[in-house]
Symmetry: C2
Subunit: 198 residues, 2 copies
């Protein structure tokens, strides 16, 4: 027997999602069958809404539903600070710390010549334009610490330094509460290299 | 910052799914944002279709899109055999073996007095009605081997025996390719008890 057609189709669609294998997709499909019709409608609507309503902020390219994101619109934010991140997810992660009160700039990727991603494919030109009005005092580069992230940070640092704006990189070192014994070599090396005088 | 509203709503809906935690739901929500609009529409439609199109077969209560399931409609099937299972998923599992050519009957649950599930909450009356026309020669009880499944099988066996129809229970024993050494005691006990003369 083939599975009931619409169930097979849902199974197939769910399997395409990242981290959802065939068995999980099947379990989810059967679960949907048992869900209240109203809940399924809400889920379907939520999926569609995300695609139609979420746009990129015109200023910082973070996610938003209007033309500007909540952070750019927030008058309490320190407009002299811009934190540059790779993805909107990184903004959410930074915001969870509740320690940063400046603005953001989302690059939407990192430099990766092998994948054909150069400066023009990222929101770099837009970042440089934001630095022109002299309001920004410092740019914090918070790209990831993998090869592409570091290369992108180096490229941006060089570019921004020429405008006279201060550039910094977020610190890499031992995670708080982390055990020296279990730290990987690279992190430990970075932690040593970046030691601060007390 | 709160998350963008529609993203937060999708996150919340996805979290309700079984086996999807908060982090997985978030990753999926961001993934949906990156998906093609057409793919998202297909996924949403597949969700809705499952709820509106899938019904229960009038005869065996397996899933179907018409009034009768493919198995009940299949003229090649042996109509003198009925395999009783708990859930539609079990029909799918049995069909994957490709070894069974009879019909099914899906109970949609097991007897569970503590949860208020008695014979009237299951499709038991409907099963007994199928045995009345004298066409059925044997009923195979394939409920699970947990307490409720065994109790349901015992209850049904008793009921069916009174109609004169043969009743059998699927075999429990060592899984094929399974190692004696690693079998749990109950399975091993069952395997010994159910030994066959060669």
């Amino acid at each position: 027997m083939r599975m009931v057609k619409s169930l097979a189709r849902l199974h197939e669609q769910l399997r395409k999602l990242p981290g959802i294998g065939s068995k999980t997709a099947l379990r989810l499909a059967y679960h949907v069958l048992d869900m209240d019709e109203r809940d399924v409608q809400q889920l379907a609507q939520a999926l569609l809404d995300v695609k139609t309503r979420v746009h990129l902020c015109e200023t910082c390219f973070n996610l938003c539903e209007g033309t500007q994101c909540e952070i750019c619109e927030d008058k309490e934010r320190d407009r002299s600070l811009i934190c540059v991140v790779e993805q909107p997810q990184d903004v959410a992660a930074m915001e969870r710390t509740k320690g940063y009160k400046g603005l953001y700039h989302v690059l939407h990727g990192v430099l990766s010549p092998l994948d054909g991603i150069g400066p023009d494919q990222l929101k770099i030109r837009e970042l440089m334009r934001r630095l022109q009005d002299g309001q920004v005092r410092e740019v914090i580069l918070a790209t990831n610490s993998d090869v592409e992230g570091e290369a992108t940070a180096a490229y941006l640092a060089n570019l921004i330094r020429q405008t006279g704006v201060r550039v910094s990189r977020i610190a890499h070192g031992l995670p708080m509460g982390g055990d020296l014994e279990y730290a990987d070599e690279l992190t430990l090396y970075k932690a040593l290299e970046n030691r601060r005088e007390l």
